[in-house]
Symmetry: C2
Subunit: 199 residues, 2 copies
């Protein structure tokens, strides 16, 4: 079965759209997924940006919020803009790396994205993330105790550097086994076709 | 019949995709079109950019060229990156305003975009634009004589300011009668549905 890498950032609004539908879309397409959370912050910093381009460029930001409203409504997804925006996805991304080892990364990602965009979950709040872990039947105390460990920190750093090395500049992004990069939730179908050699 | 405004810029790669398919898509959807060329330069300048973001942000630029390659191949469109990029769309946009009065704006737009992206037409070259006019059976001498007239200059300026007033920050963009803004060739279908009240 071909594999598609799914690169996403917890603070990213458009990543929410893909997180909520990619597992089903990949199942139908018979493509395996690798869930690869990373941080956009360092990548934006390298472009001279100190926050989201949606904050830096107000017209683009206003459009994004309206676009997300329309798309979430069409897909039956709840959507409330997080405050502040962007949230800090650092802890959630590190936890997801632990989840990738143990097989619960996709479930955790969907739970945290939903909590962020439906219920105002603060991503920087460890206790709130702990609640999301508990709701999935996971040991939040043991997991939260690991998120500041050097190997977990360096694993996320390495993953973000790998994203940069692949030419990734935004989220969500999809990378096929032959290195083809697709950017944006609206490229998911095209990425799945390409992964199967039907692009 | 509902109407959709089609805002595009001659230097814009993704505008090429929409210019080549929007008339047929709108015909099938039973939506009337208003072709509204404008200039992105002043809008980019207002954001502090002195050239295309695809030049300012190299990863984004590299992605765009590859994305355009893939999309044009899938759609059977020729595609060669213009050199230099971006081209200066000023004269082509002014001519299109004259064409809007006389009903040849869509044909002229398709001809000029194709010449730019298939055959390396230099948009700043008045004689080359004249050849495109002649090929459509138009009086290039009379039309080129008008493009530096004050009323033509101010009409394009007003159109660009109107784009800015609508919140437009990129091209192609689509605006419905109720003021809904859609950005990007991949939003064309959604914009047509919205125009019909089915969004």
């Amino acid at each position: 079965m071909p594999t598609l890498e799914f690169w996403y950032e917890y603070a990213s609004t458009y990543s929410y759209l893909s997180v909520m539908r990619i597992e089903e879309a990949a199942r139908v397409a018979r493509v395996a997924l690798r869930w690869r959370p990373f941080l956009l912050g360092p990548i934006f910093n390298a472009q001279g940006w100190d926050t989201s381009p949606f904050n830096l460029f107000p017209e683009k930001g206003a459009y994004m919020w309206r676009d997300m409203d329309r798309l979430c409504q069409a897909r039956g997804l709840p959507f409330r803009p997080p405050s502040p925006f962007p949230q800090n996805g650092l802890y959630a991304a590190r936890l997801t790396l632990l989840g990738a080892e143990e097989g619960w990364a996709p479930r955790f990602s969907r739970a945290v994205f939903t909590a962020q965009f439906a219920h105002g979950l603060q991503l920087a709040n460890k206790q709130a993330l702990g609640n999301s872990l508990e709701a999935l039947g996971l040991d939040s105390k043991a997991l939260l105790a690991r998120i500041d460990e050097p190997d977990v920190k360096s694993a996320l750093k390495a993953q973000t550097e790998q994203a940069q090395g692949l030419g990734i500049f935004g989220a969500p992004s999809f990378v096929t086994e032959d290195g083809e990069l697709f950017w944006g939730d609206d490229r998911l179908e095209q990425a799945l076709l390409w992964a199967k050699g039907e692009g």
